[in-house]
């Protein structure tokens, strides 16, 4: 056990604790702060980020209002870098009580809060999305605050003045010696050891947990945790804080915070500050209340939801409460336990709000001075907080600051988190100087993973960088990576529908299908990982799923459409491309139309048929065919079962023949799965692989060298190599720093692929690599070995290096996938078919159980496409073929066909991102017959000339099974064939 001796020990690293430790340090006290996680992981990091003007409290709590405006002015002065000067509006929406307005205006006057009425037209010019039915609007000096940064800077300032900040130190109990608290017994979660901290005075600033902390010293402090839930909108729909002009209530604040707008909050008493969930009704309430502020709010893309617990203090000693009122505001509570409970050496500061954290610290430290018989004046209102490195200036934070910095430095090639523009330098700083213990710690420092994709792209990069910089045991990185995915998932779960659900499925493609992180060595989660929210309580009468209103049909300006198409395919993913290839090859006049490109660009570029035959399987299946037989017998609605073994074999053999003829052969058979390394070093089963990957075969035992490029942020060879080593495959790693790449502003996979198409670059790579080969018998690169001349690039490199080389697939865009996409398009066009992108299908004309035409969106009109047969390959949730709503409805996007999704949205998901069972919503899709025709509930084809293929089919979860491309290939093949039946065969 470690021992630490200090003057004052602070428990809790939220806003209050970090404010107190700075105040104490500035006054010259020797202090230690312990926080059980990272700074600002509790309530501080889970609030809406509003810097109150005080306007919210002028009627209900004028004293709090006065404190807010005073502190608002001080904070703007001492920490502008943490504040965005957004200003705030108080708006009277229809249905709000107009009598509140004069009370509000008068309250502002009395509290000294500047408040001016803004004409509605002016309000709408400033904030065009606001409800035009708002009748009155007042401007107040609200702001938006970065509570993560504020806690960090307070801690940094305290450290500069000698304070010690110990994160991931959890208090087991206060140490009490007779009638005096003399320190605390803590547990260091990182080192897994006990630490005893002795102190003259202990300040309990543990917020919602302060009752529990005091309880360990036998002192009863009743804290009733009040949970508040919030949602963030994907982008800043407002740039001003919007408050409803009414008595403070639920869901009446909308705060622009960095790149998002936060709608909050609810207020529900919970029993335990560590156990609470986000209930579906809370989300619905946010959406409903949001509609009053911004019409259409519930249709906006939500990024995430979160909940924090306010510490609501309930004094149980009547005499003490009365005495307290004279001393401090009702907005926060300072308990002198000597006076209150006869226990010396302990103060508890609780309640309050972020805006008044500094004041709370000042009052607490004043009391501490009094207790320690010393008079030292407060200086926190005078001295500004340090400016963080990489911050654009000394003034207020502003939204464009990061973009301006990136633009100025042309740093756009070094982004780790692209959504939030966190650069490699930012993340490195968080790791080295910020002493990040987890990826989530990096997130709070650098805003990593806080944007639309919620860690989809940056989790791998940050894990790779963490490994590269710190070189911990690789299984620690694996767990950290899974911890972060889990942490991001917990805030997504309550709001997964629509585009955010689509995004989440892309993240599954990346982490399950391409990287296989659920099969990396190491534990599922670490003790440093985030706590999950409790699952939502079952709802007695959940609202009925509402079918989204169909798009308004518009009469197409062009009349009839081109006559004479035999087959129209909708969708350009692998299934659509294969279907169009088959139809065209069978002599059908074929057209493929697609909104954009599809899954080929996201996957591995291999054809997975079946990787795992059950959710619990830790080992991949050896023979996909055997696995498919098992699967088909237990699940007759599985697309493989419907297709049948013979057609499966035919589809594979035809596709292999095509790939060979196209000069890009795919190797393998249904009898055996290959095992190849992924870009995190997991072993990945697949059935057909391009020649460029074959030398990565993990059944071979020869040592490999994994090579990355210093300028490319998508591939970390040390992570790959060490994970392979952890799985008994000998691998070493090398990061090449090539002169020709150094001068480039960005080095993406696409850039590298184009470079590898040129002999000059291959020569440069080979020359740099050859002397470092050592005993490596094969060399693995990220999957970027040429775009149009991959085989040539591979052979040339092999010749130059004298050993086999292979590609390792990683983050999208997938170069091997793009090769397949190009190959299939060329094949379709070779057979007279046509592939058109940018064409979103928005409607159909049907007649007597047949589809006559579909309409695609075009400039100023709708374009009709007439055909004899239609193949729906628009994809599943990820591809955009299935659309989902917040009310829990799922349907096919093109024809509005029903999807067999679980009726309640809460049943769509498992509690964890990597749940082996997979999320039920992703098994939902169309029900089809053996001719791949979508069926109605009575089992009849819905349209006699409609076929379906790929992600839109139900009965399977291609990502959990690792059957994504296999199902696309087989079903596309069969749909293309079925739609061509009766036509002449080639």
């Amino acid at each position: 056990m470690r021992h630490i001796q200090t003057e004052i020990l602070i428990i809790g690293g939220g806003a209050t604790g970090s404010g107190i430790v700075r105040d104490l340090a500035l006054r010259g006290f020797k202090t230690v702060l312990v926080e059980r996680r990272d700074l600002a992981t509790g309530t501080t990091g889970r609030y809406h980020g509003l810097l109150h003007s005080g306007g919210r409290y002028v009627v209900r709590d004028p004293q709090a209002a006065k404190e807010c405006i005073e502190e608002n002015r001080i904070l703007r002065r001492i920490m502008p870098q943490c504040i965005e000067d957004t200003g705030g509006f108080f708006v009277l929406t229809p249905g709000d009580d107009p009598d509140y307005v004069p009370r509000f205006v008068q309250g502002c006057q009395q509290a000294g809060i500047p408040c001016e009425e803004v004409p509605i037209a002016q309000m709408l010019r400033a904030e065009p999305l606001l409800n035009p039915a708002i009748t009155q609007c007042f401007r107040v000096p609200d702001g938006s605050a970065d509570s993560f940064l504020a806690a960090d800077l307070n801690a940094a300032s305290a450290r500069q003045h000698g304070a010690e900040i110990l994160t991931y130190h959890e208090v087991d109990r206060l140490i009490r010696s007779e009638d005096c608290v003399v320190g605390a017994l803590c547990h260091d979660l990182v080192k897994d050891e006990n630490v005893q901290i002795d102190a003259d005075l202990v300040i309990n600033a543990a917020g919602a947990w302060s009752g529990a902390v005091a309880g360990t010293a036998g002192i009863f402090v009743q804290i009733i945790p009040g949970k508040g839930s919030m949602v963030a909108v994907n982008h800043r729909v407002v740039n001003t804080v919007i408050n409803r002009c009414k008595m403070p209530s639920d869901g009446d604040i909308l705060v622009p915070a960095h790149t998002v707008a936060v709608m909050g909050t609810t207020d529900i008493k919970v029993d335990n500050p560590d156990q609470f969930g986000i209930e579906p009704w809370e989300i619905r309430l946010m959406l409903e209340e949001g509609e009053k502020i911004i019409p259409g709010f519930s249709g906006l893309r939500l990024l995430r939801a979160w909940a924090g617990v306010r510490p609501l203090y309930n004094e149980t000693k009547s005499g003490y409460a009365a005495a307290q009122n004279r001393e401090v505001s009702r907005a926060f509570v300072l308990l002198d336990h000597e006076e209150r409970d006869g226990v010396k050496g302990l103060l508890t500061i609780t309640s309050g709000k972020w805006t008044t954290y500094r004041k709370m610290a000042e009052v607490t430290v004043d009391k501490a001075c009094q207790k320690l018989n010393t008079a030292r004046p407060c200086r926190t209102h005078l001295e500004t907080l340090p400016t963080p490195e990489g911050h654009g200036g000394t003034g207020y934070h502003y939204l464009g600051m990061r973009l301006a910095h990136i633009e100025h430095e042309a740093e756009y090639g070094h982004l780790i988190c692209e959504c939030e523009l966190a650069t490699e330098a930012d993340v490195t700083r968080a790791i080295l100087q910020g002493e990040a213990k987890t990826l989530d710690d990096i997130r709070r420092d650098a805003r990593l993973g806080m944007g639309p994709c919620q860690g989809g792209f940056c989790t791998l990069r940050a894990a790779g960088l963490l490994h590269q910089l710190r070189h911990p045991a690789v299984i620690e990185i694996n767990v950290a990576l899974r911890d972060f995915l889990k942490e991001r998932w917990k805030g997504l779960l309550p709001i997964l529908w629509g585009q955010q659900l689509r995004q989440e499925r892309l993240n599954e493609v990346i982490y399950l299908n391409v990287l296989n992180v659920d099969h990396l060595p190491g534990g599922k989660a670490s003790r440093l990982g985030a706590e999950m929210y409790a699952p939502p309580a079952p709802e007695s009468s959940p609202p009925e799923a509402q079918r989204p209103a169909p798009a308004e049909p518009r009469i197409p300006s062009t009349s009839h459409g081109q006559p004479g198409l035999d087959v129209l395919v909708i969708g350009a993913g692998l299934a659509g491309l294969v279907a169009a290839w088959q139809a065209a090859w069978r002599g059908q006049k074929t057209r493929l139309i697609a909104k954009g490109w599809g899954t080929t660009h996201w996957g591995s570029g291999c054809i997975d048929f079946l990787g795992y035959d059950s959710p619990e399987a830790t080992r991949p299946v050896d023979s996909p065919l055997q696995g498919i037989r098992t699967l088909s017998s237990s699940n007759p609605q599985h697309p493989y079962a419907l297709a049948g073994e013979a057609l499966l074999a035919e589809a594979i053999s035809e596709f292999q023949a095509l790939s060979t003829e196209a000069g890009y052969p795919l190797h393998g058979s249904l009898d055996k799965n290959w095992l190849f390394p992924t870009a995190v070093g997991a072993r990945r089963p697949t059935c057909l692989a391009p020649e460029t990957m074959l030398a990565g075969d993990l059944s071979l035992r020869t040592p490999m060298l994994i090579v990355g490029f210093a300028q490319c942020p998508d591939f970390y060879p040390s992570l790959v190599a060490e994970n392979l080593n952890a799985q008994a495959v000998f691998a070493s790693d090398l990061l090449l720093d090539l002169p020709s790449l150094r001068s480039r502003r960005f080095v993406t996979g696409m850039v590298l692929a184009q470079l590898f198409d040129t002999p000059e670059f291959r020569r440069e790579v080979a020359e740099a690599l050859k002397p470092k080969l050592a005993n490596a018998a094969r060399v693995g690169f990220p999957a970027v070995l040429g775009l149009d001349h991959a085989l040539e690039a591979m052979h040339d490199l092999q010749e130059r290096l004298g050993v086999p080389v292979f590609e390792i697939p990683g983050l999208p865009p997938s170069i091997p996938g793009i090769r397949l996409h190009k190959m299939l398009i060329a094949e379709i066009e070779k057979h007279g078919g046509r592939v058109l992108d940018g064409m979103q299908v928005i409607g159909a004309e049907t007649e007597g159980g047949r589809i006559r035409a579909v309409f695609s969106e075009a400039a100023a009109r709708h374009k009709p496409h007439r055909a004899e047969k239609f193949i729906l390959a628009s994809g599943g949730i990820l591809g955009g073929g299935i659309q989902t709503t917040n009310t829990g409805y799922a349907q096919d996007t093109v024809f509005g066909l029903p999807i067999d999704a679980p009726p309640a949205r809460t049943d769509w998901f498992q509690p964890e991102f990597l749940s082996a069972q997979g999320h039920p919503i992703f098994r939902a899709g169309l029900t089809i017959d053996q001719r791949f025709q979508p069926l109605d509930p009575q089992g009849q084809p819905i349209y006699t000339n409609l076929y379906a293929a790929g992600g839109i089919l139900g009965g399977c979860d291609p990502l959990r099974e690792r059957s994504l491309e296999g199902i696309a290939l087989v079903t596309g093949y069969l749909a293309g064939q079925a739609a061509s039946l009766g036509a002449k065969q080639p």
């Binding site: 939204l399 464009g400 006559p563 064409m839």
Partner: protein, 427 residues
């Protein structure tokens, strides 16, 4: 201007960050001055706020070709977003004055044409003089090699007024000729008029000015709005009467249909009527064909020709109407290019700092044109034609010129120089 509340910016919520656009962007593929559509569009869009100084410098390298929009599986209006950001830069005075002067100069083909065409020989001499072009590059930033076609000796409008009208037309159609036809390539307009008249139309040419696209793509929204207002005023009555408005310039028709209303927030009824009443020339011919009213009395053209569908044409999202029309011509074999863009992107490739990028973007297409060979190549968009000719030396024609030739109208240069065509005539 770049309020995230505009429908264009709201579309950033659809972005999946998937990078498909980045892999397709022809500009990011050849220069690292442009970080790519995802970065600029939906990603940067979350960091922009109206009224705040825009931090975007690299946006200037977006050529506006719209390839990103076409490949995006989520429907993000990336190119429009970028255009609106550029307009904000202009509005905030972030574009250096000389550069803005240059942009305005290259974006105002109509003004230039009005001044220079009447003195065409002199103007053409000036444009062909190397020292003069160097002076233009140094002073104005217009690249000395950028492809300026010669001014025509006679404006299209003058020819049209004098040409003999058909005696018994059955229907009317409005022809939007655009600036290039008026001042540089009246032969395209002549071919269009002949083809329309051969199909029984009376061709109407109401007053019209530049469609405003070059201004839109240079961020000069204010001037573009005025242009578009004028055009709408002049065209709306025809649209109301159901008289179709057809154009041979794909970028003009796209601007009338969509670009101007969308970028400039013009959603009034007149603008909408004009948009819905405007047709690309091939689109219009195919409609006639579907109704069985297209004259199909076509002479064979025994040639194999390279055809580039311009990116602005693809952005109509109509498929490949040009190919379908030309496939009606006996013996004519069309080979479509797979290249994303010719690089010129309207005025982009004229600029000193972007000329080399534009040439590189177009190199795949240029190789293709050279490889197909043939006495001419085909492209619907004027600046693309000039760019291809500039890079390859191969003359480039509009599809309607081939159709006019197939109808048997007199061959104009460059088709007049094609021996095979002459021979077919004689034969």
């Amino acid at each position: 201007m770049t309020a995230p509340q505009h429908p264009v910016e709201m579309s950033l919520d659809q972005c999946l960050k998937c990078n498909i656009c980045t892999t397709a962007c022809p500009v990011a593929a050849v220069t690292d001055l442009f970080p790519g559509p995802k970065y600029q569009g939906p990603q940067g869009g979350r960091f922009r706020q109206p009224g705040q100084p825009t931090p975007d410098h690299s946006i200037d390298y977006c050529s506006g070709c719209r390839v990103c929009n076409m490949v995006c599986p989520a429907g993000v209006k990336i190119a429009e977003m970028n255009a609106r950001v550029r307009a904000t830069l202009v509005e905030q005075g972030k574009v250096p004055p000389m550069q803005r002067l240059r942009n305005n100069l290259v974006a105002r083909a109509a003004t230039l044409g009005k001044v220079a065409q009447p003195v065409a020989p002199l103007a053409n001499l000036a444009l062909s003089l190397k020292p003069a072009r160097w002076v233009a590059e140094v002073t104005l930033g217009i690249h000395h090699q950028a492809p300026f076609p010669p001014f025509a000796s006679q404006q299209f409008g003058d020819w049209f007024k004098k040409h003999p009208r058909p005696t018994n037309p059955t229907r009317q159609v409005v022809y939007f000729h655009g600036c290039s036809t008026q001042y540089y390539e009246p032969r395209v307009g002549r071919a269009a008029v002949r083809v329309l008249e051969a199909n029984g139309f009376e061709v109407l040419i109401p007053p019209q000015n530049c469609c405003g696209l070059p201004l839109l793509s240079n961020g000069e929204f204010k001037a573009a709005r005025q242009y578009h207002k004028n055009n709408v005023r002049s065209l709306v009555e025809y649209a109301r009467q159901g008289i179709p408005i057809v154009g041979t310039s794909t970028s003009c028709t796209l601007t009338l249909k969509e670009e101007a209303p969308e970028l400039l927030d013009m959603h009034d009824e007149a603008t909408r009527l004009v948009a819905e009443g405007t047709y690309d020339f091939n689109e219009f011919l195919l409609l006639l064909h579907e109704e069985g009213r297209l004259k199909l009395d076509l002479h064979p053209i025994p040639l194999t020709l390279a055809y580039h569908v311009p990116c602005q044409y693809r952005a109509h999202r109509l498929g490949r109407p040009g190919t379908e029309v030309m496939n009606l011509i006996p013996e004519l074999k069309i080979i479509e290019s797979q290249a994303a863009c010719c690089g010129i992107a309207g005025t982009y490739g004229y600029k000193k700092e972007k000329y080399a990028i534009a040439q590189q973007v177009g190199s795949e297409l240029f190789d293709f044109v050279r490889q197909v060979g043939g006495p001419v190549a085909i492209c619907d968009s004027e600046t693309c034609r000039w760019q291809i000719t500039h890079a390859t030396g191969v003359p480039v024609v509009h599809p309607v010129e081939l159709l006019a030739a197939a109808y048997g109208f007199e061959l104009e240069s460059p088709l007049a120089e094609v021996a095979a065509l002459q021979a077919a005539r004689v034969g």
